[in-house]
């Protein structure tokens, strides 16, 4: 095994094999994604069982979704609507005519031994998503989106064998397939973030990867930079989070490059990503390509959407991320960067807009949301979609600062406390006695004493070093446990120094 130094330069890999002497070949990573998104309808796609996560095994199941003899599927109208809306959010053409097909294969989580999916006439085609990685905007094309049913789950800890739970069987999915336009793990992550946000915006899925409502198969191949021909790709399964996707792409690209550098060929295969080990492994028994024997499902009839209906779906879409971002820039005067961050998640944008209704200072509000809310979410490991806090709390905290009741630093701490405890900011200020000290008399006394005990910074200030003030300010803030009104403290200090 030769020493291989893989230094990342931009999006390409530089590969030097030391034992063979220095040899450099630049490789390009090519990534395509197949993303499965669970739709948040009330019921499953072909039967009226509840579409709910969790629950005791087989308690959301019926003869239809467990494939009993003689039963028949009936398509949920909401699934068609949500699939079309998802397509519109991703700039796709919505097909006027599409149909359902049977995809046959055997696995115990698939009770009919076929999955009802869409083969050659999917509901959406030819879309795209714009991503922005490292300041560069790029279009990632979406080949197609189709509707299909989910399979059940295997629970492996039975004493008699593996246990099969069909609760998830029949949950409606859309499968979003990209063209192999992605060129790095970063781009893939950006794509997934943008996709997730788009789905949240149109409200068709809660996109909770930890609950499996968003799943991703990743196709990776490599090729010499400049080559037009695609390399042999491997499909990676069991990629259960965006960070897993990121790591898996990096690992797999490296694995393939190492093979090529060793003079070996890449075998087209399906590989399983092991997050714990940080590696992919060839999957057992999946080597032979499946013959799915697709044919039109005779139990279901075609889905025909008129142009009017599609227009109707388009009109009923809520404001999407890009439109919102534009509006934030044009109407609210926010910077492109700020607008981008605020609209990156529907939940953050909603929070911001709700707060804005009661506190019409967009720039200030934006700073608090981006600086404080997002920081707290990150620290606490809370995803925006799971955020429970009422935006009113931020508004109240900001108003307390504006009214001079607390200073900005305290105000932000109060907000954080309010976020964590759900207590009203006013209450927190009372309970903790955080009211700003603005009493000039008291402060004057403290400051006079302080300057008397520490004359040097005053001399420095008089000598021209304006920054020398900060010592006094710091001391006063410390002595007042941060509650002193910084503006007044500054004014008094200057007055005392200048005499």
């Amino acid at each position: 095994m030769q020493d291989i130094d893989l230094s990342r330069q931009g999006e390409t890999f530089l590969c030097r094999s030391f034992s063979k002497g220095v040899k450099t070949m630049k490789y390009e990573t090519v990534v395509g994604l197949e993303v499965h998104v669970e739709l948040s309808t009330n019921t499953k796609i072909f039967c009226s069982c509840a579409n709910e996560f969790g629950g005791e095994p087989n308690t959301h199941a019926c003869p239809i979704c467990t494939g009993m003899p003689g039963v028949l599927p009936v398509l949920n109208e909401k699934v068609v609507e949500y699939a079309a809306k998802a397509g519109l959010a991703l700039n796709c053409e919505i097909a006027n005519f599409s149909k359902m097909d049977r995809k046959g294969y055997y696995y115990p989580d698939l009770p009919k031994a076929y999955q009802i999916s869409q083969f050659d006439l999917p509901i959406c085609n030819n879309g795209y998503v714009m991503i922005n990685t490292d300041g560069k905007e790029k279009k990632i094309r979406i080949l197609r989106i189709h509707m299909e049913e989910d399979a059940g789950k295997l629970l492996h800890e039975g004493t008699l064998g593996s246990k099969v739970d069909y609760n998830r069987c029949g949950v409606p999915l859309i499968e979003i397939v990209t063209e192999p336009d992605l060129r790095s793990a970063d781009e893939a992550k950006d794509f997934l973030d943008t996709l997730k946000a788009a789905m949240e915006y149109v409200g068709v899925s809660d996109c909770k990867m930890e609950e499996g409502s968003l799943r991703c198969d990743v196709n990776v191949s490599v090729r010499p930079l400049g080559s037009e021909k695609l390399g042999t790709r491997c499909e990676m399964k069991n990629v259960n989070s965006f960070s897993a996707a990121y790591k898996a792409i990096k690992y797999e690209a490296q694995r393939q490059i190492e093979l090529l550098e060793d003079g070996e060929e890449i075998v087209q295969q399906t590989r399983r990503w092991d997050d714990e080990k940080g590696k992919t492994f060839a999957m057992r028994g999946k080597e032979e390509a499946h013959d799915y024997r697709y044919f039109p499902d005779p139990d279901l009839v075609p889905v025909v959407l008129t142009d009017e209906q599609i227009e109707g779906y388009r009109k009923s879409l809520p404001e999407l991320a890009s439109a919102k971002k534009g509006r934030y820039i044009e109407e609210l005067g926010l910077s492109e960067y700020d607008a981008g961050v605020l609209t990156s998640s529907k939940y953050i944008a909603d929070y911001f807009e709700t707060a804005l209704k009661e506190y019409d200072k967009p720039k200030k509000l934006a700073n608090w949301v981006m600086g404080d809310l997002l920081r707290i979410l990150k620290d606490e490991g809370i995803l925006p979609e799971n955020m429970q806090s009422n935006p009113k709390l931020m508004v109240e905290a900001m108003k307390l600062v504006d009214d001079g009741v607390v200073n900005v630093t305290v105000g932000k701490n109060v907000f954080e406390e309010a976020f964590r405890t759900n207590k009203k900011p006013e209450q927190i200020v009372e309970e903790k006695g955080l009211k700003q000290i603005s009493d000039t008399g008291e402060l004057e006394k403290m400051i006079k004493e302080l300057i008397a005990e520490n004359p040097k910074p005053a001399e420095d200030y008089r000598a021209g070093n304006k920054k020398a003030l900060t010592f006094y300010v710091g001391q006063i803030m410390k002595a007042t446990k941060g509650k002193a009104n910084p503006k007044i403290v500054n004014e008094i200090i200057i007055k005392e120094i200048e005499g």
Partner: protein, 483 residues
């Protein structure tokens, strides 16, 4: 006259008038079954206890005046229609002791009409066959000649009606499985337009071809049953939404001027001469009734059988892939892993003919062959449909023999291809989704029944029933075997 000799129409009349008590009637039929079933072997399971209970309930309900259209009428159901709480086998080992926790929609409808379920009838396994010899359990005997087959796959249902074990029976027809056994057993068998009767709860064979229909002694009886079972079902996406009027209305209408076409392709080389003679005679009867009968052509006739076997096998292989020993039914005793479980269970559980069709179906759908077979067959389907559409521009009905011959001796057709050829006159109708009926037209010199087939354009059941009823009246009595 014994109550089991009555037609359905007569039975209903006597129950309504109070002359016949449902509980007495059911007892009569139970006795009848006990006396003849040993010779016929038409039934898989009898449900005498529940039948008697329901019949007793009907005694009261009739008096109240709130009873359904078929109150107290005993019937037999082909064993591929799910009955809640009652074993449903499709005459296959692979369903094991499967007891559905739901009813087929037709069973619900008949229950609403207050009919009484007597038994589940034997059939070719999963409805694949033309003689009921493919049943995993037993052969059924033709009531006209016990050494002969009753036809299939609804052989049990047809034989039960011919041996008067019920006032009517339900069968299913995918390529002729109601009509051909009706023809072999001297009873009336009807397949409605595709989509008229719900398929929910009918264990699927070929989803785009399957339809449920009645087997009865007379055409009018057929119309009465159709009234009870036809109608839109929101559980079946392929069920038609049209409003159906009373199918028994207009049966006696004059058929003067009705235009009937007789495709010459049905009178080719394989047709038995006595069957031909009987059909020719029937044509004369129609002419005497005032219909204008003329020879015509169905150019794609020769291709229908192949298209049928490709499409039906493909759909069947997919529909039967769920039988795997995991969720219900038979499971092999010994297996190494999940793949072996599937293979052992299915190999042990399915009969030979079913396995043949499963293999054939996967072959025609498999990658590399799909275009040459399945896609081709779907295109042929378009052409066949067009051919019929063209004919129905000129004709009100199409007439033909139901089968090329009378019922054959058990064991006679060993070669699968020879068995497939029997369906040749009936399959084009399923491919085009049309309604059709088989009516006894006469007996051959061996005393075996010959069936006449009338085919109509989609949703023309009333035209078919009208013509069939008038023919029946002109033909006169068609006696069933005295058993």
């Amino acid at each position: 006259m014994e109550s089991y000799e009555l037609t359905l129409k007569q039975t209903i009349k006597k129950i309504k008038s109070g002359e016949l008590l449902p509980s007495e009637l059911t007892k009569d039929y139970i006795e009848r079954i006990k006396s003849v079933e040993g010779d016929i072997d038409a039934l898989n399971e009898t449900e005498f206890d529940s039948a008697l209970k329901k019949a007793k309930d009907m005694d009261e309900k009739i008096k109240s005046g709130k009873a359904g259209a078929l109150a107290g009428v005993p019937y037999i159901l082909k064993d591929n229609m799910c009955t809640k709480g009652l074993k449903t086998t499709c005459s296959s080992r692979i369903l094991g002791d499967f007891v559905p926790p739901y009813n087929a929609t037709v069973v619900d409808k008949l229950a609403e009409a207050d009919a009484v379920l007597l038994a589940k009838a034997n059939m070719d396994e999963f409805a694949m066959g033309s003689s009921t010899e493919n049943s995993a359990f037993k052969k059924t005997n033709n009531p006209f000649d016990f050494s002969r087959v009753p036809g299939g796959s609804s052989g049990g249902s047809a034989a039960a009606v011919a041996s008067k074990q019920a006032a009517f029976a339900l069968g299913s027809d995918t390529g002729g499985s109601i009509r051909q056994p009706a023809s072999y057993c001297g009873v009336v068998g009807m397949k409605p337009t595709y989509g008229v009767v719900s398929r929910y709860g009918l264990v699927a064979f070929a989803s785009s071809l399957d339809q449920i229909g009645p087997l009865t002694k007379t055409v009018e009886d057929s119309a009465i049953v159709l009234n009870a079972i036809a109608g839109h079902d929101k559980k079946d996406s392929t069920s038609i939404s049209a409003e159906f009027s009373d199918f028994t209305e207009g049966l006696d209408k004059d058929i003067k001027g009705m235009k009937i076409g007789v495709p010459k392709e049905y009178f080719g080389v394989g047709l038995d001469s006595e069957v031909k003679a009987s059909i020719d005679k029937a044509i004369k009867t129609f002419e005497e009734l005032g219909a204008a009968v003329e020879e015509t052509s169905l150019p794609t006739f020769d291709y229908a059988l192949s298209a049928y076997y490709i499409i039906s096998s493909a759909e069947a292989t997919s529909n039967l892939s769920r039988y795997d020993g995991v969720k219900y039914g038979y499971r092999a005793d010994e297996f190494e892993d999940i793949v072996d479980l599937y293979k052992q269970t299915r190999t042990e559980g399915f009969g030979d003919e079913v396995k043949r069709r499963i293999m054939l179906g996967n072959y025609v759908l498999s990658s590399g062959y799909y275009d040459a077979y399945y896609l081709k067959a779907q295109k042929i389907r378009t052409l066949i449909k067009q051919d019929f559409d063209n004919l129905f521009e000129k004709y009100d009905l199409i007439l033909s023999p139901t089968a090329p011959s009378v019922a054959f001796k058990a064991g006679e057709k060993e070669d699968p291809m020879a068995m497939y050829m029997i369906d040749i006159y009936t399959v084009p109708i399923n491919i085009a989704g049309l309604p059709a009926i088989s009516i006894p037209s006469g007996l051959n010199t061996e005393g075996m029944p010959i069936g006449l087939q009338l085919i109509g354009k989609p949703l023309s059941e009333k035209t078919i029933l009208n013509a069939g009823h008038r023919f029946e009246q002109a033909r006169g009595d068609f006696p069933l075997p005295k058993l």
